[in-house]
Symmetry: C2
Subunit: 467 residues, 2 copies
Amino acid sequence: MHLLALGGSDAGISAALRARELDPSVEVSVMLADEYPNFSICGIPYLVAGEVADWRHLAHRHREQIEGLGIALLSSTTARSIDVAAHVVIATDADGFERAVPYDRLVVATGAVPVRPPIAGLDELGPRDGVHLLHTMDDARAVLSTLEERSPSRVVVVGAGYIGLEMAEALTARGVAVSVLEALPRVLATLDAELGDVVAAELADHGVEVLTSTVVTAIERDGAGLVVQARRHERDGEPLAVEVAAGMVLVVTGVAPDVALARDAGATLGPRGAIRVDRGMATGLPDVWAAGDCVVTHHALLGETYLPLGTTAHKQGRLAGENAIGGERAFAGSVGTQVVRVFGLVAARTGVRDDEARAAGLHPRTVATVADDHKAYYPGATPVRVRLTGERSTGRLLGVQMVGAVASAVHKRVDTAATAIFSGLAVDQVGDLDLSYTPPLGSPWDVLQVAAQNWHAFPADSNHDPR
Amino acid sequence: MHLLALGGSDAGISAALRARELDPSVEVSVMLADEYPNFSICGIPYLVAGEVADWRHLAHRHREQIEGLGIALLSSTTARSIDVAAHVVIATDADGFERAVPYDRLVVATGAVPVRPPIAGLDELGPRDGVHLLHTMDDARAVLSTLEERSPSRVVVVGAGYIGLEMAEALTARGVAVSVLEALPRVLATLDAELGDVVAAELADHGVEVLTSTVVTAIERDGAGLVVQARRHERDGEPLAVEVAAGMVLVVTGVAPDVALARDAGATLGPRGAIRVDRGMATGLPDVWAAGDCVVTHHALLGETYLPLGTTAHKQGRLAGENAIGGERAFAGSVGTQVVRVFGLVAARTGVRDDEARAAGLHPRTVATVADDHKAYYPGATPVRVRLTGERSTGRLLGVQMVGAVASAVHKRVDTAATAIFSGLAVDQVGDLDLSYTPPLGSPWDVLQVAAQNWHAFPADSNHDPR
């Protein structure tokens, strides 16, 4: 049996590894368009920051390790079409030749492509002009080249999502001034405004200029540099024309699933145009599974959604690899856990926010809490800000958002909430959890438990903030 | 209605606060033998270390705050007996007068007393000689006096449990040499030997002398100082006589429940002689509830046990306060989550270990894992050592032990495991959990998930260590 994975990132490699692990008799190949199998694209900001010295370090596993596990890597090979009936993938190889690669089982793990917002000049200008999208290792290396060759004194980052903010920090670490332009009224729109504002203040504290409600309309060359044109929408009155001069522009406004191959082969598409898969990662096409940023995600609270995350891609890929060779495991469901570090802060969330729950037909209530990460008498205690969402009727825990200092372990505190949501616990039961306590690292009632108790204590008030 | 709590520490104060919170019409009093209501005795080591500047800071709440919530504090008042039929507590007040304090509902929260091991001289020598037990705030202040007045160059700590190790660190921070003498063959016997050894190495790295398998037999005065006599049991041969000279000796070999009052009033006792309570914290005596270090703990995996912990005392106290005034809440069950920081390491556990599971009639299997706390390419990654125990037949998660650097957030990673055990998850489901990931703070598969996957990958080997 020959299992072929299309895509050499998290999902494709996870599928290949799992199939080999379960059945060493299966022949496994991974086809990828570039020369970066199993690279951590989440690590790109730290490469740009200079915290990771060499791009090669971003490989989860090196090519030799993967091949050593008996996986054939067909790199610099671009899949052109899938002939489902013939069980063949048509591809263009490194030398430009067309190849027909037969398979018995196929895992489509084509990932996502960066969104290109409607900005005049974006299609004409490119890395040579200092204008970059950022998604692949090639993109990352192009950004590094621009930084080295043009030594920009200011960079405009378009988009204040996870990657935009991580890149703002990375560039600041390199001594480059950064302006972040965001079309939405706030940064990190995956969090409630109250918490996004805390992150915005952290950016400002580190000298990052943040312009929200600012829609970029054009990027233009201006001598050796660039000018970004935008419109800033104030609460009242006409939008304000904004012009920012920069040596480099980075456009990071999100991703869309890369589904052309699967769609053309007859796959059904779901939310946001992602490939529809069942919980076993089957596409419905004979012998074709799919996983990662190109597929829909089954969310424990929201059902079918699109939520491209590295953690999910690893899980889905592993499942696809297992099921493609005969397994019968089902994806247990995402709860949408996400985390980002922005300078000294960590912002994390799991489950759904109030507005998301409402949009899904639920009846949520959200209560805000601020509590110290550890006993105040021990030096270094810092506030953790929590917004906890529960279901009014059932008391079920629906979501938790947290922002706190790096040392406050917000990234792992949110995992407790994620586990509680995964397990279907009620808000009330969060208070019953037996969580760890020692004065330098916690409190007898964990921050999350204080938030759960406040949720019950303030039943009539949907946005109580104790501070 | 008058609710009286006997004991002014975590359980007693929690009961009082909860009753007042739920029904401000209830009259609530707390009787305590000293002048330290609601003090964090877990914070004593940090006071001794000098990290907490003033003993007053160790109050969770100050007297004025508690009284401001309408709770009467009967301090320096020692309860002598409970007349259950008459609903009266007989006590000796601060002036030495006997008082009869009537109640309608009683919460016994008398806590625990330090164990006095059979050491010759321990009963004769005391704080004036530099020989200390350590459990109350008065004990802590006596230790501080000895340190200030005698300026010992070496302190012997008898007992290598949580408090013993925290005190070893505290004294080291003060520039005092420390010898820890432990009767068991290893430090921190609540962890498996493999992890206890890592903690022992950390102690040695910080200059703490650790003598295990060493039974202290006598403490003697020697001029202005003290000499500790002990026998060290080597694997083979006769025990070795050991003699350590010290300016101060600290005996911290555990606690026993303080049950005299309740027992004499007719309460039933359970494991380790602790007061038997049902899940609602009722003692069975009319209108008498009990909570905290003096009662048995209902453990989700082990049933009725004795496990005195601050977190549990808070939960039990809160329940006792609620139920004493008419509530009907049940204690959801402890899973035995514990954590300690020892210099740069954090050691944590939840659930049961292999030997504990076996003793409880379960059929466990334990697998060891070492994994980095975050992606190795990002600077500062450190190993987290995990021992994961699951049930052979059902695959249920039974326990997790972890040791790692402070920054690795082991203290909150163990909470994820605690939540999983609380929720009855299988080891397999731990791999399905949607946990957070960003390269500076984690990995796409969390350490706990790698441990869960290893547990499945090594079914025949009860102690596989991948490193």
